[in-house]
Amino acid sequence: MVEEDLKDFKLKPMKCELNFLNKSDGSAILAQGETVVLVSVNGPLDIKSTSQNMEKATLEVIFSSKGGKPTVSDRFKENVIRQTCETAIFGCLYPRTGITITIQELEDYGGLLPTTINCTCLALLNSGLAMRHVVAAVGCALDEAGNLIIDPTNDQIQTATATMYFVFDSREKNLVTGFSTGTFGEGVYDEALERCRAASDLVFNFYRDIVASYCNVIG
C-alpha cells in the first residue's frame, strides 16, 4: 500500500553545497523547498576539563535563529539535534574532546527542524567524523480532512491539525527521534511512521548523490 503511494512521490526540491565555510572543519548549506539552513561542524577539539567526558566526545549544539533574542524553542531544537547526533556520531572514538555543531537559520518556511537535522548530517559527512549511520528527517502533516501529507509545505503546516516529524537511521531504518504537535490517533501515527520511513529513502539517496558528486576529487 505504502509503496504505491510513494511511486511518484517527490520531496520538496533539495539543494546543497558542502564546505561552504572554509574555516570550519565541516560545513553544509541545505535548502529544502524555501527553508534554508547553514551548519558548521568543528571537532574533535580541546575543551575545558570540566566538560570533558572520559568515555566519549562531548557534543555541543548551538542553534542561532535569524534575528532577535534567543528563545526557549531554540533550546528545544538544540536538544533534539544533540540527541539525534549523539546516536549517529561514534563519540567513543574521540574521548575527552568536544565536537561543536553550530546552526544558523537562514530562511524558515516550514519544516525548519527536519531541514536542520538533514543539514547537520551533511555537515558531519563533510567533516569526516566517524558515524555509526546517517540520519534522515522527514515530516508529515495531518490536514483537517484526515489525510496525511508527507513533506508538507508551509501553508499545509499552518492549516494542519497535527504535524509529526521522524528521524530514521540508515542501517535498519529504525526510528531515532520523533516529535509531534497537535492531536492524532495511534493508527494515524503508525501510518505516518511507515510512510515517512519509506520517504526517508529519498533523503538517503540525496546524500549519496551529494557524496557521489564530489567523490571524484577526494581520491
Binding site: K15, N22, S40, N42, S64, K66, T102, E107
Partner: protein, 377 residues
C-alpha cells in the same frame, strides 16, 4: 580551543613579501577581495561576503517605549555575535574582546554618525517608538571582519522596510506587509568601515586577509615595530566618520592621511555596490520574483567543493586578460635565506611513499624508512 599561533616562518615570509611589494594572494596593496551581497526573503536580511569572509545581518523591529532623554527618537541597537561557526577558536554565547570591539565600531559607524533618521521612527512621543535591532552574525572569519560586517549592516539597514502604522485617536494600528506597503528606513548617508593593515612604518594594505592581520599585529623584530590595523569609516561624500587604530603607534601623520584618501575611493566603490544590489533586488521583488537564500547555493561548488579564490596565488595566475605587468624581480632581498644551502635541482621531500590510509592501519611498529637523500635543513 586555543587559536593556532602564527609560526615564525609565516610571519617572516609575509613581512618580507609585503615589504618587497607583493601579497600572498597576488593582490596589489590597494586591491580588495571580491564583494558579494545576497539578500534573503525578508526585508533587511543579507549575507555579505568579502573573499571567504562571510557575515550575515538581519534587521528586525519592534515597538517600545522611548528613552527618557530622547522621547521623540527611535532606538537603534546593534548586536554582533561571533560563534564557533566563524572559526573553531571562538566560544559560543560569550562576549569576547572581538565581539565588543566589533560592536563598538559598528555602533560608532552607524549610531554615532547619525546616518539613520531616528526621529522618523517615532510613533507617539514619549510613548511608542520603533526600536530597530541589527543582528550581525559572523559566519566565516577569514580576515577583515569589520569591513565585511559593516557592509552587511549597511546593506541590511538600507534594505530593511518596517511596517506602516496609522494612528486612530489613542490607538496605534500596525499594518501587515500585505495591507499597506512597508516603509524603507531613511538613511542620511551611507557610511562604511574599511580596514588597512599597516606594515613597517609606511606600507598600507587594503582589506587584509586573516594571515596578514595576524602578522601585522605581531612584532617580528626590533626594527619593525609599526604594525597595526587602521579602521576608517567613511561615507559616500568622502566624509570620515570613524577612525580606529589597534596595534602600535603610528610614526607619521601622513599615513592616516593616505589611508583616508584611499578609503574615500574604496568606500565609494563599496557603497555603489551596496546601492546597486539593493536596487536590483528591489526590481526583482517588484516583478514578484521570490528572493531566497537558497539562491546562494550553486551546483558548481557542490560538484567539487571548489574554493573560489586561492589564498596563495601568483599575481597573474588564472587571469584571462593579458596584462602587461612588469614584475620586478625580488631575488635581491632574499639572497640571504638561500645561501645557507643551495637545494639541489630536484630536491623534493616526499617522505611517505604510500598514502595515509595504508600506513595508518598496517600496525607495524617499525618506522617508515626515511630516504636519506631528501634533506630539509
Amino acid at each position: 580551543m586555543k587559536e593556532t599561533i602564527v609560526s615564525n616562518s609565516e610571519k617572516a615570509f609575509v613581512q618580507k613579501l609585503i615589504t618587497s611589494g607583493h601579497r600572498l594572494d597576488g593582490r596589489t596593496y590597494k586591491e580588495t577581495r571580491n564583494h558579494q551581497i545576497s539578500f534573503g526573503s525578508d526585508y533587511g536580511s543579507c549575507i555579505a561576503s568579502l573573499g571567504e569572509t562571510k557575515v550575515m545581518a538581519q534587521v528586525s523591529c519592534e515597538v517600545v517605549q522611548p528613552k527618557q532623554i530622547r522621547p521623540n527618537e527611535g532606538i537603534l541597537y546593534i548586536n554582533v555575535e561571533v560563534g564557533p561557526m566563524a572559526a573553531p577558536q571562538f566560544e559560543a554565547n560569550r562576549q569576547s574582546d572581538l565581539t565588543v570591539y566589533l560592536n563598538r565600531l559598528l555602533e560608532k559607524c552607524y549610531k554615532d554618525s547619525k546616518c539613520i533618521d531616528l526621529e522618523s521612527l517615532c510613533i507617539v512621543v514619549e510613548e511608542k517608538v520603533w526600536s530597530i535591532r541589527v543582528d550581525v552574525k559572523i559566519l566565516n572569519h577569514d580576515g577583515n571582519l569589520i569591513e565585511c560586517a559593516s557592509i552587511a549592516t549597511l546593506a541590511s539597514l538600507a534594505h530593511f522596510k518596517r511596517p506602516d502604522v496609522t494612528r486612530a485617536g489613542d490607538k496605534v494600528i500596525i499594518h501587515t506587509m500585505t495591507e499597506k506597503d512597508p516603509i524603507p528606513t531613511v538613511l542620511y548617508h551611507y557610511p562604511v568601515c574599511l580596514t588597512f593593515a599597516i606594515f613597517g612604518s609606511d606600507i598600507l594594505i587594503s582589506d587584509p586577509s586573516y594571515i596578514e592581520e595576524a602578522v601585522c599585529m605581531s612584532v617580528v623584530d626590533e626594527d619593525n615595530v609599526g604594525g597595526g590595523l587602521l579602521v576608517v569609516g567613511i561615507n559616500q561624500y568622502k566624509e570620515p566618520c570613524l577612525l580606529d587604530l589597534t596595534g602600535a603607534a603610528i610614526h607619521s601623520v601622513n599615513i592616516v592621511h593616505k589611508a583616508i584618501l584611499s578609503a574615500s575611493e574604496r568606500g565609494k566603490l563599496i557603497i555603489d555596490i551596496v546601492k546597486k544590489s539593493i536596487i536590483s533586488d528591489d526590481t526583482l521583488r517588484q516583478k514578484r520574483a521570490r528572493i531566497n537564500y537558497k539562491d546562494i547555493i550553486t551546483n558548481e561548488h557542490r560538484q567539487s567543493l571548489i574554493r573560489k579564490e586561492l589564498s596563495i596565488r601568483l599575481k597573474n595566475f588564472n587571469t584571462n586578460e593579458l596584462k602587461q605587468e612588469s614584475e620586478e624581480e625580488m631575488d635581491q632581498d632574499d639572497d640571504d635565506d638561500v645561501k645557507i644551502i643551495e637545494p639541489s635541482k630536484y630536491d623534493i621531500v616526499a617522505t611517505l611513499p604510500k598514502t595515509a590510509e595504508i600506513n595508518a592501519k598496517t600496525g607495524k611498529s617499525a618506522w617508515i624508512e626515511i630516504s636519506s637523500d631528501s634533506e630539509v635543513e
